[in-house]
Amino acid sequence: MGRLLIALAASGALLLARTAPAATDFDWSVDLRAVASDGEQSRLNGGLGKLRFDSDHDGLRLGEVRAGLRTDLSDTMRLVAEAVAYGDHDVNAVDLTEFYVDWRPIPHSIWRSRVKLGAFYPEISLENRMRGWGSPYTLTYSAINTWVGEELRTIGGEYSLDWLGRSNGHNFDVSLNAAAFGWNDPAGTVIASSGWGLTDRQSTLFGRFNNGGRPNTQRTLFYDDMDKRAGYHFGITANYRGLLELHALHYDNRADLADASTVIQDTTWQTYFDSLGARYTPTAALTLIGQWLHGRTLAGLGPPVNAWTFDSEFLLASWQHGVMRYSARYDRFASQQTASNFLPYVENKYFGDRGHAWTLAGARHFGEHWSAIAEGLYVQSWVAQRTISSEYGGLDIPANASERQWQLAVRYQR
């Protein structure tokens, strides 16, 4: 409750700090939840459960308090800051998820350049399209975007070149983007140690993450640069008349494994992946989204070098009917360790998980400021490292688990 009060106070302070120049746009929201869960100990509480809320952490909960600030530094340059409080055990009660400057000159031809500098999400999710990187469809993000929210942030610069076909009589726009970044060397820690998750808990720029508990109980600092070597990602997006939007992204943090330390939170993880996504909006009421991601992560000096593959995909359908929105999503996910140099310490078990999940949500708006979202989530998973015995610092529980989580969120936003 103390943390909740701190979060609410911080939100209020931000509100009072609001100045009213026309060039500043401030918005905030509060999300309170009633939760019922039979989940295993959550990955957020040191366990290997897949959900945000487990059976020991349900009841009345803070979903989040978030505040967003958009300030125009000039007519074409904007500063964006997103702050959030989750009321959980992170080191900072309020922290930033994004903080960047966006330069977007007014186009004088069909080509437009854009530049982003700071800390922001790569253009990967077709689901997280609300301010603060939230989803309008479900409370819980897909497994793919749960992981993106947990482990990825571009801290650096991104250049985009847009071909504005639709402003010139064509049917589609195309955009190419490329980014160079640092401070993402630990990316891969969570997927390797805990596998995939299904939460709406984004990591924060200065926060920590209690990564799966055992056998690696350390809390990970996500956004750190150990090797002084820049990573990159590049991608393409295309939009056909607003009906069909396609995203493709290749990411590689180019972490230098020679920079590995014996302490996991100081270890570089070389992580690279490809992601493809499509959003189809055949009518104003219906939205269909699909995304696929496949990657690898490597850590340690070896021999052998620890290696994992991970992949997931989801399909989401959402139907808007007046003030109601109904959404359903199916996720499938798997990760598999393919090489290990610590087998003797974990009962000769390779890490890995696989499973699938169904998420059903219904949302209703009550006027301009209030909304309520009910969500049911069922996830069936197998996680190899759940079976590691307590002698080895493991959880010593069955590898298979079926978890259910019911949430009713009440949101107020201004």
Partner: protein
């Protein structure tokens, strides 16, 4: 023959009138088609006279109306009725312009002084597309729910009648026809599109919860 022109004697007495009906490829009357009757080269282009200001509003991340037809020299106001700010631009040769980021009514009306099609965009919301047809002719409009537009008080002479639609998926001679107007002899022209219209543009909500970019 995609366009037909009929003389309709006795339909009206006095000023000449031209009734234009547009049918989609499905044979149903097409609402919202732009119709412009341009006097043949050398003929005078009378001014509409009244210089009222036309309005291109911005509501729910859309330009409203989606297409505006104005006579050359008309000033167009661009109020922003959304909660979020817009930054309207065009790089169309007929009228390149930009309106610095704004909400409400921050900018003076823009005068459209060259004929042609002007495509509007918003630099903040790439999904927003709007059109302004600028024509030297005073005889223009959009078809109603019955697919028909009545053009009145047309002077005698030769005219090229053109049609256009925001979702048109075809080009070709079927989109224009030539007519000769004589005093007191009303005409009716009809157009039949050959191809189905493109799908409607899709938009998401315009409140502050949605990310701009």
């Amino acid at each position: 023959m995609a366009c037909t022109v009929l003389s309709v004697p006795g339909l009206a007495v006095g000023a000449s009138a031209l009734s234009v009906t547009v049918f989609g490829a499905d044979g149903k009357p097409l609402e919202g088609a732009v119709v412009i009757a341009e006097p043949a080269a050398g003929s005078p282009h009378p001014s509409l006279g009244s210089k009222s200001i036309a309005v291109m509003d911005q509501r729910n991340l859309m330009f409203v109306p989606d297409v505006l037809v104005v006579q050359t020299g008309t000033a167009v106001d661009f109020p922003n009725s959304d909660q979020v700010r817009h930054q309207v631009y065009s790089f169309s040769p007929a009228k390149p312009f930009q309106l610095a980021l704004y909400g409400g009514r921050a900018h003076a009306p823009v005068v459209f002084d060259h004929a042609g099609l002007v495509t509007l965009g918003c630099n903040i919301h790439d999904s927003m597309i709007g059109y302004i047809w600028v024509t030297d002719s005073p005889w223009f409009g959009r078809t109603g729910t019955n697919g028909t537009l009545q053009l009145r008080d047309i002077a005698s002479g030769d005219y090229t009648v053109r049609i256009w639609h925001t979702r048109l998926s075809e080009t070709g001679p079927q989109l224009e026809t030539h007519v000769h107007v004589e005093d007191g002899a009303p005409l009716a022209a009809s157009f039949h599109l050959r191809h189905a219209l493109k799908a409607e543009l899709m938009h998401h909500g315009a409140d502050k919860k949605w990310a701009d970019y």
